[in-house]
Every structure is written in C-alpha cells, then in structure tokens.
C-alpha cells in the first residue's frame, strides 16, 4: 500500500504528514489525541542521514510532546550498502535510532510499528522491532532474504529450503511467519483505524516476543533457552 493511501485510511484528512526525500514525518489527530508519525517510503535504503532524520523526529517528540504516541511507518529495503555510510558508522546511527525509540518507550510514549510495504533486515531492526509492538499489513513483506538468495549463500538446495519452510517459519520470509515467530504482534486487515486504536490501547508489556513465538509455535526454542539460562 502506498503511504498516502495508508495515512488517508488511518487519519482521513486529519494529519500533517509530509514526505521529504524518503522520510515521512508529521503528526495526526486520532480519536482526540495527537500521534507523532515517522518513517520511510519508496523502499528506502536506511543510511546514516535517514537514520538520523528519523531519530530527530523521535527526539523532538520526546522533548516537545511528552507522552505523545509515536507511529513508525516502515517501508525499507534494508541498510544502505555504501562505503561512505560504513565509514561514517552506519551501525552507530542505526543504533542511535533504536536507542531513541527505546528511550521514548521508557519515558511513557506508546510506540507502535507498522510495516505497510516491505521491511528488510537492518532497516527494520532499529525501527519497528524496537517498538512496544510491531504490526504489519497483510500484504506487506518482511524478510532478511528470499529463499533463492539464502540457497546461494548457504549452498543448500533451494528445493530443500522451500520444503522445510512450509513447516518451519524460521526458514521462510513473509509477514505471517513473522507473526508466528512473535516478531510481529498482528496483521492489520479491513478497518485499519480499528487496528490502530487497538494497538494504541494495548498495555505496554515489555518484550514478549520470545514468549509469543513459543505460544504461536513459530519460534519454539528462544523462550525455553532464556528460561534455562535463568534457571542454570
């Protein structure tokens, strides 16, 4: 879904969300409250500058609007694959964005992530995956890599990976698999306003993803291993 369609579905005309390059930023009225909105569009590669631009919005929201909910809109092809970004510490800039989101949560901002188009690897890990909970449109795409690329890099037969991915979500891309693994809380379909309202109303519970992955059967070992370490 393109971002204009999405924000119209969520906020009708009650928003001032603007695009600047690949950055989306602004605010919206939602059921009587203001919501800060920040994210990216056009499958943006996240480099140092775009990570900092998003961090700026989160920092300003904390400083100027304590407690205001933050909606992260995710559409990224992953991290920028450029030498200059590496030289300038892209991992540090992305960590900085993740830390800004983390601090916003700790200061009482409800942070909701929404993958509305595609989310890949590094672009996702320091945005939606740092929210209280991340959701996805059912037609969105989430992956680290597609099965053919995975086959090439791991030197394993593509047919085997495809076959195994039918029963084990860990091997397969896709939003439904991320829900099964606990990485995505829910898929949004139909009435998107109702989905957002429910997400904003959900209590902040801390990181429940390993538990949810176990309950949903998509990531069955993480919580058990965590529990074993705590009991050792």
């Amino acid at each position: 879904m393109n971002w204009q369609t999405l924000v119209t579905a969520l906020f009708a005309q009650s928003h001032r969300i603007e695009r600047s390059g690949d950055l989306l930023a602004g605010e919206a009225e939602f059921e009587g409250d203001r919501v800060a909105v920040v994210g990216t569009t056009d499958h943006a590669p996240i480099g140092v500058a775009l990570a900092l631009a998003q961090a700026r919005v989160v920092l300003d929201t904390m400083a100027q609007h304590p407690g205001r909910a933050i909606l992260l809109l995710i559409d990224t092809q992953g991290q920028q694959l450029r030498r200059q970004d590496e030289m300038l510490g892209i991992n540090r800039a992305m960590a900085h964005l993740g830390c800004c989101i983390d601090l916003a949560r700790r200061r009482g901002h409800r942070v909701v992530g929404l993958v509305y188009d595609q989310a890949l690897s590094g672009g996702f890990i320091t945005s939606g995956l740092m929210a209280d909970a991340c959701h996805a449109l059912s037609e969105a795409e989430i992956r680290v890599m597609r099965i053919p690329a995975m086959a090439r890099i791991t030197k394993l037969p593509e047919e085997m990976l495809t076959e195994l991915s039918r029963s084990n979500p860990v091997f397969a891309p896709g939003v439904a698999n991320y829900v099964a693994m606990g990485g995505v809380r829910s898929l949004w379909e139909g009435d998107l306003r109702a989905c957002l309202a429910a997400a904003l109303a959900a209590p902040a519970t801390g990181d429940q993803r390993a538990r949810e992955g176990a309950e949903r059967g998509g990531r069955r070992h993480a919580q058990a291993v965590i529990d074993q370490v705590l009991a050792a």
């Binding site: 680290v144 979500p169 860990v170 991320y178 990485g183 993803r209 070992h221 370490v229």
Partner: protein, 305 residues
Amino acid sequence: MRNMLKNRVSYAECTARERIALVLDADSFVEWLPPSARVTSPHLAQLGVPTSFDDGVAIGRAHLDGHAVFVAAQEGAFMGGGVGEVHGAKLVGLLQRALRDRPQAVLLLAESGGVRLHEANAGLIAVSEVMRAVLDVRAAGIPVVTLIGGANGCFGGMGIVARCTDHIVMSDTGRLAMSGPEVIEASHGVEEFDARDRALVWRTTGGKHRYLTGDCDALVEDDVQAFRAAAIEAVGRPAASRPLTLQGLEQEHAALAARLQAAGTDPEALSLWARLGILEPARIPEIGAAAVRLLRPSVSAALAA
C-alpha cells in the same frame, strides 16, 4: 619480531573460551548451558548443517579484577559468530539474568558477522531482543561493555548491539561496521568498495578509525592482557553505567550529525581524518595504538566545534 611479541597473546587468534580464560580472572568462569548441555540449533540440524554444542556462544559468570561480572563470548570459528535463535536466546537469557542478579557489569566479547543466514528470520528478531535486553540492563544501572578484536569483526546486527552498550574496547585489528565489504562490493561494484584492499577495509571499519571518530571508547593492541586492562578500567570507572537520557541522545545526535557534515560526500577515511585536524593522516595505518590514542583529543575538539 617473534621475540618482541613473545609475551603477547593475540586476542584475535584466541577462541571464545580462551578469551574468557585470559581476559577474566583465572579459573573464575562458571558457564551456563555449557557444551555438555548440548543446547544446539535445531534449525541447522534440520538443514543437515553441522551444529555446535554451544551454538557458537559461551555465557556465564566470572570475576574481573575481583568484581562479579557476567560474560558472553561469541565463537567466530563457528558460522562466523552468526546469531541464530538459540545463540541469541543465550545472550538474552544472560542479560535478563543480569537484571535479576545484578552483577557489577556485563562483558560482551563480540565476534560476529551478524544474523546467521541459515535461520535469518529468527536471528533478526533475536538480535532486536538482544538490543532491548542490553538497554534494559543499562537502564537498571549495570554497565554493559563490549570487546571487539576477533578476526571476523563485529558486523550486522551485532554491530548495532555493540553501539547499544555503554562502552566499546577495540583492537586496531578489530572491525566494527554494518555490512561487510564483500556485500557492498557485490551490491555496488568494486569501485564502491574493493573488499580485497585490506588497507581500505581497515581504514574504513577498523579499530583506529573507530577510535578516532568516537565509535569506540578505547583502543588497544591485539593483546589479551591489553583487553583485560581496558575491561577492568571500563568496569571500574566512576560513571561506568550510563543509562540512556534525552540529553545523552541529543549529544550523540549532534556528534553523528557533525561527522556527517564534516565528511561531505567523500567516502575516504583519510580525507575525514584530515578534515578532523589530523596532520599526517596517511601515517595512521602505520602507527601503534598508543600513538593513535594521543591523537583523539584534537579530533574530538574538531567534531565538537
């Protein structure tokens, strides 16, 4: 050369457990979920790929100069230190246990290419769980210190995790970055990043560059005793724990924005070093860690100006 180095043990050449044995107090390490427990990756087994009885990471408690600390060490020789479901959960478990048991500090001996591609979807979630667990531990006032000096460097999601910790110690042979040079070369061509040009790779992602530009906090030689001394110093500092604050993140933002501005569109570290006031940038790759340490105050001033 051999004689000069006879008392030095290369951190880069050590295994994860050798690093724990030599960086922490002798015989103080008590491992949780040791290889004898055989907690391995079920996904690798399903793929018919060899597993490791610790899934590539050793975790437990130990002492550092008499202080009770928790420690995790990633084994670069197993799948490049890649983070899979079990590996990541061991790290999260260690950090959650630190929240409960409150050691003096948590040490992360990082060596990783990032998410393990064989189980990448679970690994991606796992790395974000590690990030959040690290920040929980920091928020509780327990410092998390990262050591980077393994041959595989610290890349991908672990490069982000490292930057979520309080303090990073690197050797000049260590590397800290996001995407490996091979990935960038494959994506944008050899003109963008020649992965075989070792000098280029190190001055773009290596310890000296990271130290000069503030991406790491301490720079040491490739020597386990130097890492130990730096870790003791990091844990013993008066303000070893630095929970996130709005003011701290504003400072971080300003530093990153200033560097981005200083670099312009030039991807060359030598040019950036020159712009940051280093008089003979071409000499940096040749000089030792001690000499590089003397240069940082002037660079910090240039970035703050």
